[in-house]
Amino acid sequence: MPSGPALLGLAILAAFVLAALFADQIAPNPDTQQLLQRLDAPSLAGGEHGHLLGTDSLGRDLLARVIHGARVSLTVGLVGVALSGGVGITLGLIAGYLGRRWDRIIMRVADVQQAIPALVLAVAVAAIVRPSITNLIVVLAVTTWFTFARVVRSEVLSLREMLFVESARVVGASDARIIGRHILPNAAASIIVIATLMVGNLILFEASLSFLGVGVPLTTPTWGRMVFDGIEYVATAWWIALFPGLAVMLTVLSTNLVGDWLRDALDPRQRRR
């Protein structure tokens, strides 16, 4: 049973996922400009036109844009983790299981990538390739795979020496069977924890890149870009930048809460830390 904070995280994530899935039904027109309602405050803070989160400098409803922004963030977070994890887990398995030359090559590449700050590399590459969500996801996977690879490799290295893996080999199990039946299931706990935390990291990355104006096309509503657009007006219309910023923070906070709970739940040694 998840703890209180983890339940809160799951609930927030579920809300964002639903918002992203049904964005077109809940808020059909995130780009509609109502120039007569520019910079209208949130309705609870004295807004005159009944926009719950207010409007931006072009009179677009912020709630609608934040809801649509969830699409980009969650797509990048989830698909990005699938790709980054797919590449990282495969390479980690190869490095740990085949060892020797493969291990050296893969781990040296990981060392090199670790020396370049991830956002710095992502900014450099994303700025150079054509802006699109697909390109952005590939860039993020290329800049983060090694976290998975390192974790999986170290799991494989310790599991490989275990008696039950040894026994499987002795009775003639193929490498594919040993990896699929014995190694991966035992490494799954660590992989799930890393993947959960990585979803939050990638969402943070995407938001930072969008904030800097690279990655996603500028016409797509993203949380990061909305914050950037709002900073200009921060002294007078604080809501434009604040709400999309809070959306990023809530999503990342939720994945961190869930990831932390999973770590405790899946690894009894870590409990009560």
Binding site: V120, A127, G213, W238, N256
Partner: protein
Amino acid sequence: MYLFQRLVQGLLVLLGVTTIVFALTFVAGDPASTLAPLDTTPAELAQFRHNMGLDRPVPVQYLDFLVHAVRGDFGMSYSSHEPAMGVVLERLPATLRLTGAAVLFALVVAIPLGLLAAMYHDRWIDAAARFSAFLGQSIPVFLLGMVLILVFAVGLRWLPSSGGESWKSLILPAISIGSFSAAVLARLLRSSLLEVLSQEYIRTAYAKGLAGRTVVVRHALKNAALPFVTMLGLQVGFLLSGAVVAETIFAYPGMGRLAVEAISRKDVPVIQSFVTIAAVIVIVANLFVDLVYTRIDPRIRLS
């Protein structure tokens, strides 16, 4: 011997970094067509390629790139037509000051927070520390930066919201960058202190009548220092990433903001120099961590 090994390793990693940096030229597409004016004829384009050496085989270009890179020559900035590395290095001190201030902030927050949380394990102080660490780890640099501007620059008018003239303009961006690391370090310090405090020799120290504070500071803190220092080294990359964002928000004249400007102009040599310098900082910081390591733990020096 240990340090020498790490130095060689660092140089090899740097060689790998230059390979990635070199590859950036090709990710960008044909540099000739990016650089040449729009009305260039194909013949002129070919001539241009030849002059730039872009018609040579890739391995030859790479070696040429390396030979120049070793001397710090990454070509001319496309926009200012000055040496790209020089343009970036000019902004380096400002970024080092900013990240230095961020490290200082992270340490000043993380050490007391981690210590208190461990000493008052499972009490309200612990819960409050863990909660703030969670927040610090989840808040994006741009959101924290904006809130700080709103409160301390717009509202209270205590600190400037932009620029880099005085030490005062360092405070807000340093806090926005450093709070993530502060949170990570506080959590790590807390959990490694709790781990150490459950060891036998700590019980011995208590048993021989030492005061609680002495035990924590003299015995536990010393042993919790190793993972802490390692994590601090790993934070350097995050701090530099954060600096790129914070320098943009606070209009701070560092190399991160320069890089963001270079990106909008597709100024590849400047981007390449920036990525290389960022990697050099990370590598040097980790060598420094290794050095501190050998000071703290004699086992590493002797083995």
